[in-house]
Symmetry: C2
Subunit: 344 residues, 2 copies
């Protein structure tokens, strides 16, 4: 909080901030993320300069997306898996996206004690961000936050989301490897609702394979592995593997890492690894365009000024939504033309 | 298909088409939906004129959204439920959204024999539409199609989607009552992944309560009813009800209809019914704005012309996605200004 206050009050030296990030200064990293997440226009300009500066130093981390329904044990898995990676000499960053319930607007994660072990480890950096309504349930700056972590030299960046459907599509556009955590459930093995997410994942971990649950976990593993076989072959030519794990007994962690390494090696050899990152870059350019088009429109005075009246007319059935939209867009275009006209 | 060809080839008389729709002419309705779904610019203008014409005659139907995972028996339920409504003297329209698998691009529904009984009934109108990528898995014109059905005098419009998460949010913005179909599953009663959808629904039907499955269905009913009790009270002040039904034995159909009628009566009394429709109108105005902002941008020559080069630069890490986006947006604004400038 102190850092956040300070960053707003004095002029930020972008070069210095970039240098400190590259020197693996965690305070600088946190400041930079706050800056990048800021919605202030003045901050946005500095954030862009900073991102341009650190750009040559990004792209070297392995990007892993981790998802699963609430209760599957994501946090404990990430703690256990993270420790395994740290023991293998890796520095890891964890970006936890905290979605809000659509209706209650309450936080689903929110628990302050999450990932205590990792949060106190020098080799780990844990950053929770509230999910926005845009970008499919990610924070609007998750990608830029990831780039900052890469510049700060983390070997692995994990992005954690709650498995509520839409955010998975967005996360799959951010990461190299998409890991789905599953419970050894009874009867839910082949539910249609998960098919889309199962189709996206590169690997699956059956969690809580301990305390007498081992057999069920093994059975679930076989069922899911069979199910994954039934999907049409993915264009990357990789058949997702299923692993059973226990965060409590710390089993399955090395296997998970080996699976990911095997994936990365195969994908690098086939060229898919780079191909995927390239398509992702393209995807995010378009995401940015859409976000900016919206933001420019809605913050324009002529739009802001008329919005209330138009909404009122639409709400009271005086006008069709489509007609109101078209009219406002026409006025908006006339206005930017007048405002930007160098002759006036 | 013949109707579609004809509509493209001769000039459409909007007044005549509107009159025919209001006279409950099904061929005219189908032509109008094809027109409204068309992506041709010339069709769009006529479609808007047509919508303006029929607007005063819309809003009188009861709008019901129906969702559930594949395998829950949506089509058979809608057939059985639809027949019940027809026997009560209602004319019903069914808009079935056919989503495509994110990866395989294959159709999930696709089965041509769906809803044969209703499709051949004079009092029912069945219209499948392919889901687009925009508007959260709905067809971009589902709302306008619904308005056309209302103008054609249907008492009930049902919008059917597959329960894959994102489309439910969009559907809940379209309808008065949101019905969730559930299987009497084993163990999946309180899965987190469905919580968001459960929070949205106004009623739930446990399907396939027949052939010895009655007890499981009843048990599931109790479990879901308890689960719904645990959610925070909805702002509409309605506690969703759970009903068991069999499309095969045609049980639970009248109960479902009575539940919906009770809901509508309560919501009309409390004022929430109108309040909801008003917010929905507002929501769709904004959806239209976003769709149009995107469409205008991407179809502009300066954007179309440079897109390939920029995508290439972004893909090969010569430029950050955010920077490419900003630059293109700046050029776009300069161009519209030049093109629209009345002095040039």
């Amino acid at each position: 909080m102190a850092a956040k206050m300070r960053i707003r009050k004095r002029k930020i030296d972008v070069n210095q901030l970039a240098d400190r990030i590259l020197a693996k200064d965690r305070v600088a990293l946190s400041q930079a993320i706050t800056l990048v997440e800021s919605t202030l226009k003045s901050d946005n300009l500095i954030a862009r300069q900073l991102l341009e500066k650190i750009m040559p130093h990004t792209g070297k981390s392995l990007r892993i997306g981790i998802t699963g329904v609430p209760g599957v044990g994501k946090s404990t898995f990430i703690e256990s898996f993270g420790e395994t990676l740290i023991n293998k000499g890796k520095r890891i960053a964890i970006l936890a996206i905290d979605p809000s319930s659509q209706r209650t607007r309450g936080s689903i994660l929110g628990d302050k004690t999450r990932m205590e072990t990792l949060a106190n480890n020098d080799q780990a950096y844990v950053r929770p961000s509230a999910a926005g309504s845009a970008l499919g349930g990610l924070h609007a700056r998750t990608r830029e936050t990831m780039l900052l972590c890469e510049a700060a030299g983390f070997d692995v960046v994990m992005i954690e989301t709650v498995g509520v459907g839409q955010s998975e599509v967005a996360v799959s556009q951010l990461v190299d490897f998409f890991l789905l955590l599953m419970l050894a459930g009874a009867g839910d093995e082949l539910q249609g609702i998960k098919r889309g997410i199962m189709e996206m994942c590169d690997g699956m971990v059956i969690t809580k394979a301990d305390s007498g649950n081992e057999d069920r976990a093994k059975m679930a593993k076989n069922q899911y592995q069979n199910a994954l076989h039934m999907f049409p072959a993915s264009e990357k030519g990789w058949l997702p593997k299923v692993i059973t794990a226990s965060s409590y007994n710390k089993t399955g962690m090395t296997e998970t890492w080996e699976m990911i390494c095997e994936f990365v090696e195969e994908m690098r050899t086939s060229g898919w690894f780079n191909h995927n990152r390239q398509s992702q870059n393209k995807h995010w350019m378009h995401e940015w365009i859409i976000q900016e088009l919206k933001s420019q429109f809605y913050t324009h005075p002529i739009v802001a000024q008329q919005m209330e009246t138009l909404e009122e007319e639409v709400m009271t059935d005086k006008r069709l939504p489509i007609m109101a939209a078209m009219e406002l867009l026409e006025q908006y275009h006339q206005e930017i033309q007048l405002a930007d006209d160098p002759k006036t």
